[in-house]
């Protein structure tokens, strides 16, 4: 049976070290299984957040060999065993303990987004062609891997000005909803700070649900911001026609 060494971050936001643990690699084992094996036999106090072990709850996010991943969807046999496999908490959020981070900032951002707002006396009939776009965004499992990898949050740390890709996905799912009537574009520009995104697509690269975050959510929202704020001709058209949107 092959043996792997996991080099795991142990500590919290103020103090920490990296510790090596050896585990036997069993067939079909994922990194989360290895962490559980370590928890079960060597380090019962190892803190790991998980829930479904099926890639659907979004709890087990961490960085495996430097790559933001769901640990329950990262197979051990996909990783080279000749060197220790590093497992670190998500860099962008404060560590509570070991691999568990405090992601509560994300919930605060979420509250800024105007919820689904149908018009009065809505006829609740929808056609597939109108909700195709939105369905992709509904796949989000809130793993926050996209938030973690986004350099605007990770390196520039402008959490006060920028909402991050997960919330552009949510805003897009509402803005493009055929029955929604709220205008979130000013909020997307000012409060979620979409202009800080420089469309470098790392969020798309890490999304375990393979949502085309940049192409299908962020860029279309950027274009909507252009409609309302930057396009001089549309501005004139709105002035002349008195319409709110053009």
């Amino acid at each position: 049976m092959a043996e792997a060494t996991l080099n795991i971050f142990r500590g919290d936001s103020t103090n920490g070290k990296r510790v090596d643990y050896k585990v036997d690699v069993t067939p079909g084992m994922v990194v989360l299984d290895a962490l559980h094996a370590i928890q079960g036999h060597q380090a019962p106090d190892l803190a790991v957040r998980w829930n479904c072990k099926a890639g659907k709850c979004g709890s087990c996010s961490a960085e495996v060999n430097g790559r933001p991943r769901l640990t329950c969807k990262t197979r051990m046999d996909s990783l080279p065993l000749d060197r220790p496999i590093t497992v670190s908490p998500m860099k962008t959020f404060p560590v509570i303990k070991d691999l568990v981070t405090d992601v509560s900032w994300n919930y605060a951002v979420n509250k800024k987004i105007t919820p689904f707002t149908p018009k009065k006396d809505t006829d609740w009939k929808m056609y597939q062609q109108d909700i195709d776009r939105v369905q992709e965004f509904r796949k989000c499992i809130e793993c926050f891997l996209c938030q973690n990898v986004c350099h605007v949050l990770r390196d520039h740390d402008v959490k006060d000005k920028f909402g991050g890709p997960r919330f552009f996905v949510r805003a897009a799912s509402l803005e493009m909803h055929p029955l929604d009537v709220a205008d979130r574009v000013p909020m997307i520009k000012e409060e979620l700070g979409i202009g800080y995104c420089n469309i470098t697509k790392c969020c798309t690269e890490v999304c375990p649900e393979e949502i085309h975050i940049t192409d299908n959510a962020i860029i279309p929202l950027k274009e909507r911001v252009v409609d309302e704020y930057y396009d001089p001709i549309l501005r004139i058209v709105r002035k002349i026609t008195g319409a709110k949107k053009a």
Binding site: V158, N198, T214, I219, E223, V226
Partner: protein, 255 residues
């Protein structure tokens, strides 16, 4: 989150990634940088851009539309008069932005690889990058250029009043097709044709725009591919015409 930074290496370029993440940006630096140098040289060169003097109906895409070739009022290379159009289209393209922000500004160099982490980062909220928001105007301009290039490609079949096909004709035709695919897979176009609508089924017009949006979305998935193919084709088309015009190679007439 400053506390965590104490525990994680904040130095520029630091990462725990083991793969060759830099291998993604090196080809971009070489190809975009190389194209930039070649295009600059050709734009300033001011000659060998057409083959009409040899009885061959080719015009380089770097010089189309050709303005004041006789230097009545413009004393420098005619390419300099028009270069801004295609340049602004590519420079503000959402795909190229990703490519050069990563490869040339290292912002970020790659995913989960530290960028400079500078606090002055403004992204596309401040000058000069706030101008990227005008990409749709560069698209409108690109359509005008595209019309000229289609005209040039059609003219490349006209050999002194007779239908003919040379190697250059084929190159110019493939080039304008790739440029069209690149232009009509544009994200701004995808928005304008129908992406901005909330409801595709609400009227005949919105349904037609919905179909346009779906078709553009299909092209848009390959926008990166078209961006590179059309960059190569435009450079190669110019290079071929330059070689023929300078007499270095002879164009082969196929038909």
């Amino acid at each position: 989150m400053a506390e965590l930074h104490v525990l994680q290496d904040q130095t520029f370029g630091a990462t725990k990634r083991r793969d060759a993440w830099w291998a993604e940006i090196i080809p971009v630096i070489i190809v975009l940088g190389g194209f930039g140098l070649y295009a600059t040289f050709r734009a300033f060169e001011g000659k060998f851009y057409q083959c009409w003097d040899l009885g061959i109906p080719y015009l380089s895409p770097f010089y189309s539309p050709l303005i004041d070739a006789q230097h009545h009022w413009w004393h420098w290379s005619p390419a300099l008069l028009i270069l801004g159009g295609p340049l602004s289209f590519r420079a503000t393209c959402y795909y190229y932005r990703k490519a050069y922000y990563r490869a040339f500004f290292l912002d970020p160099p790659s995913c989960a690889v530290n960028d400079r982490g500078h606090k002055s980062y403004k992204g596309e909220t401040a000058f000069p990058f706030i101008l990227q928001n005008l990409h749709r105007y560069a698209f409108y301009l690109a359509l005008i250029f595209l019309a000229f290039l289609w005209y040039d490609a059609v003219c490349a079949f006209d050999w002194n009043g007779h239908f003919g096909i040379g190697v250059g004709t084929l190159i110019m035709t493939v080039n304008v097709i790739l440029l069209s695919l690149y232009s009509f897979s544009c994200h701004s176009w995808r928005h304008l044709i129908g992406g901005k609508l909330e409801c595709f089924s609400c009227s005949a017009a919105s349904s037609a725009r919905g179909s346009g949006w779906r078709f553009t979305s299909m092209l848009n998935e390959r926008h990166m591919l078209f961006a590179w193919l059309s960059l190569f084709s435009v450079g190669l088309t110019d290079f071929y015409i330059r070689m023929v015009s300078a007499g270095v190679i002879t164009d082969i007439k196929i038909f």
